[in-house]
């Protein structure tokens, strides 16, 4: 397993408050990784920095075989490079149909003129069908996304990520607000996705993390506190102290 994303010495502070403090992290390809940590540990800022929304004060982020630095790239270039992001709150384009949402995410040229003269292809349509199947939305393709249930929106967003064919998927609390059954399906989707690519899941829900059955990184005050299997980190006394000791592990 070789490393796809390599972050080293990342620091970001907001008015003196260090949201990320000398954070170093490596993700291989393929890999499924869960990132946990108490509130304010810097999980969201961590994703903002990878996706180019926030510029770090110090540090390096390298991506891919040719070790390209992501620093200074725009969000859209980073996304085109193969990093997809799912937000905590499901953000799909509610006014448009499920199919249109997926079509927009499909990996195709992104320039305005290319898009203006874009013509639908059979391959593209087949890919949409395939993803729809995977996220259980085949019957809803022509419905406006706004009419979907909360869980379905979460899936649609994951589907849009898959349509982007990213090499690295950043998923922020995918199971929030889902029923037990929906969670199970979400787990399946993520694990399947992680078979061919890197997936980072930021989660609060220990039960969900346990089900993912993957390596866990614990963030605390902007840096990595512990790394390893869930059992390993939950036994780590420092982790128990700062995180598990303070809040209920299982929700």
């Amino acid at each position: 397993m070789k490393s796809l994303l390599e972050m080293s010495g990342i620091t970001k502070s907001f008015d003196g408050f260090k949201a990320i403090n000398n954070l170093s992290l490596q993700i291989g390809e393929p890999e499924l990784r869960a990132v946990i940590g108490p509130n304010g540990a810097g999980k969201t800022t961590f994703m903002d920095i990878i996706t180019g929304k926030t510029k770090p004060d110090e540090g390096k982020i390298l991506f891919g075989e040719d070790n390209r630095s992501l620093l200074g790239m725009s969000e859209s270039r980073i996304a085109m490079l193969g990093i997809g992001r799912k937000f905590q709150k499901p953000t799909v384009f509610e006014a448009q149909t499920v199919r249109e949402n997926l079509a927009m995410a499909l990996r195709n040229p992104r320039g305005p003129f290319a898009v203006l003269f874009y013509r639908k292809t059979t391959a593209g349509a087949a890919r949409i069908e395939e993803i729809a199947e995977e996220i259980n939305l085949t019957d809803h393709l022509t419905r406006p996304a706004g009419e979907l249930s909360h869980g379905q929106k979460q899936w649609l967003e994951i589907g849009m990520l898959l349509a982007q064919s990213p090499r690295l998927l950043l998923v922020d609390e995918p199971a929030a607000g889902m029923t037990a059954q929906e969670r199970e399906h979400t787990t399946d989707i993520l694990r399947k996705a992680a078979e061919t690519r890197a997936v980072i899941v930021v989660e609060h829900d220990m039960e969900f993390v346990r089900r993912l059955n993957c390596k866990v990184t614990v963030l605390h005050e902007g840096s990595v506190l512990a790394e390893g299997s869930l059992d390993h980190v939950t036994k780590d006394p420092t982790v128990v102290d700062v995180y598990l000791g303070r809040s209920d592990a299982g929700h």
């Binding site: 859209s76 937000f87 448009q96 927009m104 992104r110 898009v115 203006l116 003269f117 639908k120 982007q164």
Partner: protein
């Protein structure tokens, strides 16, 4: 999905209905106009209708930039005015040239080119105490260049302004205020006597088309009316095609959640810039057709308030649907001229007589508030609801 690729028109039947309605309307007006000999519709009303068609064209441009792409531009009427100025310069120059050559023909010695140019300069700029041709007028004698400027000046201005604004991620109300500031700066500039565009006198006599002096205004007006209708039809088709394309999906997505689109890998700024510039160009074309029918253009036309009215039309008509913008612009501007032209009967309340010339703006303002509050989708939205029910 199996791509049962339906044709553009089949996917958008409303385009066909719209074009049919526009065609019918145009034919009726043309037949009933004075030019056809029937004369049921006066020449001045044909001009009003022709101008209204141009306003509809700028309104659909506004609808695309605001209703579809979410940029509440308070500057599109400025682009409209720039288009008017660009064509107005040629109209005024060419017509003055004809008059001047005519009047100099009576001289004992034939005039030199310099004398002709001086006399034209005097005629045009005497009113602002100057007779020199400003640099701005360098191409005023070339119709084709001025026609190109109708497209190029609004386009370039929108491109530069949009590039600056979108690049620094100015969005929402900030962007609106910034576009309003741009409009104000332009209007203030034009208000100066040394702007090179005759200060607050503006350009006038634009209804007289050089080379068609012998053609009556009845024919000229119907010609412009038909051209405006054709421009509206083409503009409508263009925008319907754009909004129906995948680009249409993207710009609506930008409207709904800009940063999400960015994380999908789209360079949002390019899209906004494309839409902003294209709509500015269409606004310029609409202005170039409007002002020869209006006969006069002055800086007051460009003042920020005009661009806000444009937004009002689109909002009342219904954002996010092209026919909504057409309905809004047509209904509100025609009602506006009916009420303020004294056409509407006064209402006697016993203790006070409501004279609509004075109270129309109050009515419009309050209607507008009511529409924003209770029918955010405008007339078009109500229309859609009715269609869906039946």
């Amino acid at each position: 999905m199996t791509p049962t690729r339906k044709s553009f028109v089949a996917r958008n039947p409303s385009v066909l209905y719209f074009l049919a309605a526009l065609g019918l309307f145009t034919a009726i007006v043309a037949v009933l106009s004075e030019a056809s000999g029937v004369g049921l519709i006066s020449t001045s009303f044909v001009k009003t209708l022709g101008k209204t068609l141009c306003l509809c064209l700028v309104a659909i441009a506004m609808d695309v930039v605001w209703g579809y792409c979410g940029i509440l531009s308070l500057g599109h009427f400025a682009f409209f005015g720039i288009g008017g100025y660009a064509i107005g310069m040629w109209l005024m120059y060419a017509r003055t040239e004809i008059i001047v050559i005519d009047s100099l023909a009576g001289q004992v010695i034939p005039p030199t080119p310099q004398e002709v140019s001086d006399a034209i300069g005097n005629q045009i700029f005497g009113v602002v105490g100057s007779s020199e041709f400003p640099l701005l007028w360098a191409f005023a004698d070339h119709l084709w260049i001025q026609l190109a400027l109708v497209v190029l000046v609004p386009g370039l201005l929108a491109l530069v302004f949009g590039w600056l604004a979108f690049r620094s991620r100015v969005t929402g109300v900030y962007l609106s205020i910034l576009t309003q500031a741009m409009t104000l700066a332009l209007a203030l500039y034009l208000f100066q006597n040394d702007s090179g565009l005759r200060g607050n006198n503006g350009l006038s006599g634009l209804q007289n088309i050089p080379g068609f002096d012998d053609t009556g205004q009845d024919v000229v007006s119907i010609a412009f009316f038909l051209t405006s209708a054709a421009a509206l039809a083409l503009g409508y088709l263009l925008f319907a095609w754009i909004t129906d394309s995948k680009l249409g999906n993207i710009i609506q997505a930008i409207r709904d959640d800009e940063s999400r689109v960015r994380f999908l890998g789209y360079h949002v700024e390019s899209y906004k810039l494309f839409v902003f510039t294209l709509t500015a160009v269409i606004a310029g074309i609409a202005g170039a057709l409007y002002y020869p029918q209006a006969g006069i253009i002055n800086p007051a036309e460009i003042a920020p308030i005009a661009s806000i009215y444009l937004a009002v039309w689109v909002a009342i008509g219904g954002r996010g649907r092209l026919y909504g913008a057409v309905i809004g612009a047509a209904v509100v501007s025609l009602l506006s001229s009916w009420f303020t032209g004294g056409g509407a009967p006064s209402v006697d309340l016993g203790f006070y007589v409501i004279n609509w010339v004075d109270w129309w703006l109050v009515l419009l303002g309050l209607t507008f508030v009511a529409v924003t509050l209770f029918a955010p989708q405008g007339i078009g939205g109500l229309f859609d609801k009715l269609v869906r029910k039946s």
